[in-house]
Structures are given as C-alpha cells and as structure tokens.
C-alpha cells in the first residue's frame, strides 16, 4: 500500500468515481492528482476505468422494434380520434 500526498491507494480507488465525475472538492482533487502522478499502479487503474467507460459508452444502443413503434404511433392516433 503506497501513500502519496497523504492518500493511500485504497483511498484513491474509493474516490476514482468521484474524480471522474469531477465531484471532488478542489483540495482532495489536488491531493488525488498528486498521488496519481507518483503512483503508477493507481494511474494504470484510472486509465483502465476510463477505457472501460469509453468502450461501454461507444457501444451502439438498441433500437425500438418496428412493430412496437407502429403500435405506439397507432395508440397516439387512436387517442387523437377518441
């Protein structure tokens, strides 16, 4: 367990999600970045999580089946004529 900038690797792992969301208070963010600059292991973890998130984000979403869309548009029209 390495300690840089008064944060252990465990502390950093627990806060990586907040860091990626830009939700850390400025002081904590600075200490976490100092830790990352000196700790190859945490820096690698951060990059791998970033890569995972971007891979997930890049996956194409699902499209509504045509039949369902037709049913729903019909329901919209039925409401119009009701």
């Amino acid at each position: 367990m390495t300690t840089y900038a008064s944060l252990t690797c465990d502390d950093v792992m627990k806060r990586l999600t907040e860091y990626l969301d830009e939700a850390l208070p400025p002081g904590t963010r600075k200490r976490l970045e100092q830790h990352l600059a000196g700790c190859a292991g945490c820096s690698l973890d951060l990059n791998e999580i970033r890569t995972t998130v971007s891979r997930l984000r890049a996956l194409p979403g699902e499209k509504m089946p045509i039949g369902m869309k037709e049913n729903l548009l019909r329901a919209l029209h039925n409401r119009q004529s009701a």
Binding site: A23, E48, I49, L56, L59, G61, E62, K69, L72
Partner: protein, 225 residues
C-alpha cells in the same frame, strides 16, 4: 462542474422539456417518435433488470409509453420529463416482476438462483422467450458501425458486456446501464433510482470494477482459440 456552469444546460433542458410536453399533448407524431427513439435503449435495459427477459421488458416499455400518453396532460413539470417517464417505467417493471413472481408454479421454485424467475442468460441458454433467437434479431440492429466486420465486433463485444452486467446485483446493473451505457448524468440517475450521490457512486465503482475485469479478460483472449 459548478452549479453556476450547469445553469444554461438546465435552462436549455427545461425549455426542451416544455416544448416536448406541449408537442406530446398536441399528439405530434414526430415529437413522439423522437422520444421513443431517444429513450428506448435505456428503458429496455432498465426494465430487463427487473423482469429478467427481453420479451417481458418490451411489454413493460410498451405499457410505460401507453401510460405516458394517458398521463401527459397531468404532467406538472416537478421533475424533468425524462425522470417522470423513467419513474413510470421503474414502477411498472417492479409491479410486473411482483405479479410474475406470484404466478410462478410451486414446482419451479428453487430451480434457479432467483427462485424460478429466469435471468436473461438463463432464458438464452434454455432457448426460452426472449432468448437467443429474439436477442440475435435485435442484435442485428445494434450495428451502427461502418463495416460488417465492425458490426460483428461491436455485437460480440456487446454480448460480452451484457453477460458481464447480467452477473451484477440489480442496483449495480441499473446504475452502470444508465451511467455508462446510456451516458446519463449522476443527477439523472439519482433522481430516477432514488439513490444518494454517494451510494450511486459506490454502486457504480463496484459495477465498473467487475465489468472492467470481464472486458479485459475477453479482449486479452487470442482470436483463434
């Protein structure tokens, strides 16, 4: 991001909501079609967490939209339109799951890890409703990538991601689907799922760690094995 820098985004989102709600109230087909396409993937994913199969999840999505059409005149704008729609979806999916669990025959109780309520993976393996046949039909529309090879890789990766996500506890599944697959903000996820920011981040961190391990394993596998 500061609250101040969020203000124009919030204003723009609220303005867009107003226009969409107005258009839906006027039964504008183009506006309805737009919201159907925009939210389908997230709605299906979230419904599947609760009801376990694609066929049942599709039913929940359809029921949700019918409820939205019936209720749009009562929408008061206390939450965003998206939050309102997804809360209806989650409530309906939970009710559906409760209803289904009451209908499980005694003989099937204890068959699986969820007391007879098959997961998508179980259904798929068994070739049941919402299984591979149905899944593969849907997977053919996933490919927005350019070449057939890209589409194949994308579809294959999606299958692995789906399998990894299916192994997660329900709350972790909900959070990672909305945050990472659908790109929702922390605030939107917390509003729809009724979670605190801290709790949602703990769930997200755990989910990402497990999915990351599965993806790394998959991506490290040699192609010819």
């Amino acid at each position: 991001m500061t609250q101040q820098s969020n203000a124009p985004v919030r204003f723009q989102a609220a303005r867009e909501d107003q226009l969409l709600v107005q258009a839906l109230r006027e039964q504008d087909e183009n506006a309805f079609s737009l919201v159907l396409d925009r939210h389908y993937s997230a709605m299906l994913g979230l419904a599947m967490v609760h009801v376990g199969s694609r066929a049942r999840a599709e039913e929940v999505v359809q029921e949700t939209w019918l409820a939205v059409l019936s209720g749009i005149h009562r929408f008061e704008g206390r939450s965003s339109l998206k939050t309102w729609i997804f809360r209806i979806l989650v409530n309906r999916a939970k009710s559906y799951a409760r209803r289904e669990s009451r209908m499980i025959p005694f003989s099937s109780i204890g068959d699986g890890p969820k007391g007879g309520m098959a997961t998508l993976a179980e259904n798929s393996a068994a070739g049941g409703d919402g299984g591979w046949e149905g899944d593969l039909q849907h997977q053919t529309v996933w490919g927005s990538a350019d070449s057939p090879e890209d589409r194949l890789l994308s579809t294959e990766l999606r299958l692995h991601v789906d399998k990894a996500i299916e192994q997660l506890p329900a709350k972790q599944r909900e959070v990672i689907i909305l945050r990472d697959l659908e790109g929702w903000s922390p605030e939107e996820v917390c509003n729809v799922l009724g979670l605190s920011e801290t709790n949602h981040r703990v769930l997200l961190h755990r989910a990402r760690t497990k999915v990351r391990a599965t993806l790394e394993q998959y991506l490290a596998e040699p192609e010819d094995v």
